[in-house]
């Protein structure tokens, strides 16, 4: 009846996950109770859960990422403490538990923190920057988000029901095959990634189409803000690479569920094919993450230097070059698998070549700053911090891309330091920069600068104190994923890293404080003009937060830095618009399709993990029925009458006029 599921799945003998799970459960129930009692449920349902507004979906993605960052961060703290104490002892985490933690940490950080954070920012901002009212497939977009949330939910469920994979974040066979991992851990891993993978693919298709098809008048390709370009490149990579991940995991699942032999040692299976395929997705994936971050830095650096981006066209070229070359280097993740010098050399050289367009970008940012009037606001601090940190990470990347060096460094703590150096220093700093930069746009008030700067400095130094020691430990021969060790020389570095983790934690607390304090002072921090940073692209041309329809009129773009131009013109003519004539606007209706679909997908995923076949069928039919109902819908749009548009827009225009006249007097 319930497949493999019974009471032994609840880890009563392990207090840590049980207590953590209980605390989270109580937290969720408390929030739910508060929502219901206060009567916020209808609001939540109509304005958020069923929303197909790209801005709302973007915010929900970022919220998901932030919550999961706390979960992944707790894992990180636990691992750092374990390695600090587990010198010639077992530490406090038994091996099977430690293995689950590092696997969950990696999986969560990549798939449920980094991915939703950047996808959220792209959703929130790209349509605004393109000057359009919506994305190409609004309901599909909502489906994508909720499927991602399903994946995150399943991963967290494994904390209290059953177990998570102990195989690392990429579940290499043969360890991940049934014979070595008979439990449900790998199934939790694979099914959550399959489901959220569909969500990611859908998000990718939506954003590619949006950039290619929906641009306002005059917004041709070479006038798009840099962030739109990197969005295009990153989502092209999603569309091209995620199917590889899905297919690879599907083969692993066939091995596990139906006795296939794709990656087994017996019956003609080939384990090495898994490494090959997973990295053919895995390397593009790191660029899927970092390209949007590059876009964010481009926007931030040019805004806070008060200058147009230096070398815009070379930046476009570098972005698209990275997009293509990122598909030519994947073997550098398994130089040591033995493909021999010919193959290794070619892939090693290709890996180093990818550093060239990246270098071009760094110089472009530097030259953008050069001679500019730089304002060191929080987003700018994250950007400068990124440039310093990412260069180090990139250099160590080139180092491990030298095959003979990699034979020494592969799977050592040096590698761990490298990828944290690029992922934290690149993707996370980028996400934070984007968060600080666009928060006023999303919510209508600025974030507290004092706490923001504190958060930056603690995170910045905390990062170095945590990860530079790992480079050293790697050089001293320490391999990754060690539950305990006996080498005295490694101990001091692990202790320093633990201290660094504490500093990083203070950074996170400052970030939380920043949000709390800003919400408290929101009236004082209110952004009335919609343009708090003196911005250059079109997202600043509308109010903060923007109305559902983003723009009362689709802006007419005449060059790069569209909004900067408009402001310059408005200043000359001392008014923004003559009394304009408003029109009705059609917007897509909200739809529960995404939420309902994900609800059934959750049921189906859970049932697949526990082999509860009747429930699998139930979930499958439910998800399909939802899709059919949506496909046969009658009307999917509603009209906002011209008067309402006018009423909303006039308020914004009045505020803006003050801004422009004030700017004229300064």
């Amino acid at each position: 009846m319930l497949g493999k599921l019974d009471w032994s799945a609840i880890p009563f003998d392990q207090p840590i996950p049980l207590i953590a799970g209980a605390v989270v459960l109580v937290g969720i129930l408390a929030v739910l109770a508060w929502v219901v009692v206060k009567g916020h449920l209808p609001y939540l349902w109509h304005e958020w859960i069923t929303s197909v507004d790209h801005k709302r979906i973007g915010v929900m993605y970022i919220l998901l990422a932030s919550v999961m960052l706390l979960r992944g961060g707790s894992d990180a703290i636990m691992m750092r403490i374990q390695q600090a104490v587990a010198y010639q002892s077992q530490g406090y985490l038994p091996p099977e538990h430690y293995n689950q933690i590092f696997s969950a940490h990696g999986t969560i950080m990549i798939f449920f923190v980094a991915m939703p954070f950047v996808i959220g920012l792209m959703n929130l901002i790209v349509p605004l920057q393109l000057g359009v009212r919506d994305v190409a497939f609004p309901t599909l977009n909502s489906v994508g988000f909720w499927l991602t949330a399903t994946g995150a939910l399943l991963v967290n469920l494994s904390l209290v029901i059953g177990e998570f994979a102990r195989t690392g974040w990429l579940a290499f066979p043969p360890l991940s095959e049934l014979s070595y991992s008979p439990g449900v851990g790998v199934d939790y891993y694979a099914w959550s990634l399959q489901i959220s993978g569909v969500g990611t693919l859908v998000a990718g298709i939506n954003l590619v189409t949006t950039v290619l098809k929906l641009r306002t008048k005059g917004m041709n390709y070479l006038r798009m803000p840099m962030f739109c370009w990197t969005t295009l490149a990153s989502n092209l990579l999603i569309v091209a690479a995620f199917p590889i991940l899905t297919a690879t995991l599907a083969m692993l699942l066939l091995d596990r569920y139906l006795g296939f032999h794709f990656f087994t040692n017996e019956a003609g299976g080939n384990v090495m094919m898994f490494m090959n395929l997973i990295w053919a997705w895995g390397h593009p994936e790191v660029y899927i993450l970092v390209l949007p971050a590059f876009g964010i830095f481009s926007e931030v650096v040019s805004t806070f230097s008060g200058k147009a981006l230096f070398g815009y066209r070379s930046m476009v070229l570098a972005t698209m070059a990275i997009c293509v070359i990122s598909f030519m280097v994947w073997l550098h993740h398994f130089f040591t698998m033995g493909a021999g010098p010919d193959v290794n050399a070619i892939f090693g050289i290709a890996s180093m070549i990818i550093a060239i367009p990246t270098g071009v970008k760094i110089y472009n940012w530097l030259f953008t700053m050069y001679g500019g009037r730089i304002r060191f606001a929080t987003p700018m601090l994250w950007s400068i911090g990124f440039m310093v940190t990412f260069i180090i990470g990139g250099l160590t990347g080139v180092l491990v891309a030298v095959p003979p060096a990699d034979f020494m460094l592969h799977n050592s703590m040096f590698l761990v330091a490298h990828f944290h150096n690029v992922i934290i220093g690149g993707v996370l700093f980028g996400a934070f920069a984007g968060f600080e930069y666009w928060f006023p746009k999303a919510f209508g008030f600025r974030l507290d600068e004092r706490w923001g700067k504190l958060a930056f400095w603690f995170t910045f130094f905390g990062f170095y104190v945590t990860f530079i020691p790992l480079y050293v430990a790697g050089m001293l021969g320490m391999t990754r994923r060690m539950q305990h060790y006996d080498v005295a020389a490694w101990r001091p570095w692990m202790l320093v890293a633990a201290v660094g983790m504490a500093v990083l934690t203070i950074g996170v607390i400052c970030q939380i404080m920043q949000i709390v304090v800003s919400i408290r002072n929101r009236e004082a921090l209110r952004d009335r003009t919609g343009d708090p940073w003196d911005g250059r692209s079109l997202e600043w041309a509308t109010s903060s937060p923007p109305p559902v329809f983003n723009f009362a009129f689709n802006p007419d773009v005449r060059g790069e830095d569209a909004y900067w131009d408009m402001k310059a013109h408005a200043k000359q003519q001392s008014h923004e618009h003559d009394a304009p004539e408003y029109h009705d606007i059609e917007m897509p209706r909200n739809s529960p399709t995404g939420f309902v679909c994900a609800f059934f997908a959750t049921i189906m995923g859970f049932a697949l993990i526990w082999h509860i076949w009747w429930m699998v069928v139930l979930g499958g039919i439910g998800a399909f029925a939802t899709f059919v109902v949506f496909a046969w819908r009658d009307h999917d749009e509603y009209v906002i009458p011209a008067e309402e548009v006018a009423a909303i827009d006039r308020v914004n225009l009045a505020e803006r006029r003050d801004l422009v006249s004030m700017a004229g007097t300064v």
């Binding site: 306002t216 008048k217 005059g218 041709n220 090959n276 053919a280 493909a339 021999g340 010098p341 193959v343």
Partner: protein, 129 residues
């Protein structure tokens, strides 16, 4: 990607959306496509089993016919054309082909080299005892 200032979105249509030909003309297109596809399929089956041509040329002929088949599908069923309204579709196709080529080609190359660091078989076999 020239400096055109008009709305690009209006000029780049999804496959199938572009021609507002009469139903008759469109049906004709599909019928021609179907006929060509069937012809190519039949030819492949015929070539595979025949001894009318020089035997080593058969695989080559099959590859050529397969590529022609893809072309027919793209043109008649997926409506990929070279017209200016089709740039995105052609570019998407090119990008897709490039990625497939890189991944499949790379995989074959890598997988065929994985024993490069192993000693030759005649040295391994004695070691196994």
């Amino acid at each position: 990607m020239s400096d055109q200032t008009h709305m690009l979105a209006g000029h780049d249509l999804a496959p199938g959306d572009e021609e507002q030909h009469s139903v008759g003309a469109r049906i004709l297109g599909y019928v021609v496509g179907l006929a060509l596809a069937l012809l190519l399929t039949a030819t492949s089956f015929f070539i595979a089993g025949t001894d009318l041509v020089w035997q080593p040329s058969i695989p080559v002929a099959l590859i050529v016919l397969a590529i022609a088949q893809m072309g027919v599908h793209l043109v008649f069923f997926l409506h990929i054309t070279t017209g200016p309204d089709n740039t995105n579709n052609v570019l998407a196709l090119a990008f897709g082909l490039l990625v497939v080529f890189l991944v499949v080609g790379g995989t074959v190359w890598i997988m065929s080299h994985l024993n490069a660091n192993m000693p030759p078989m005649d040295q391994i076999m004695p070691m196994r005892r």
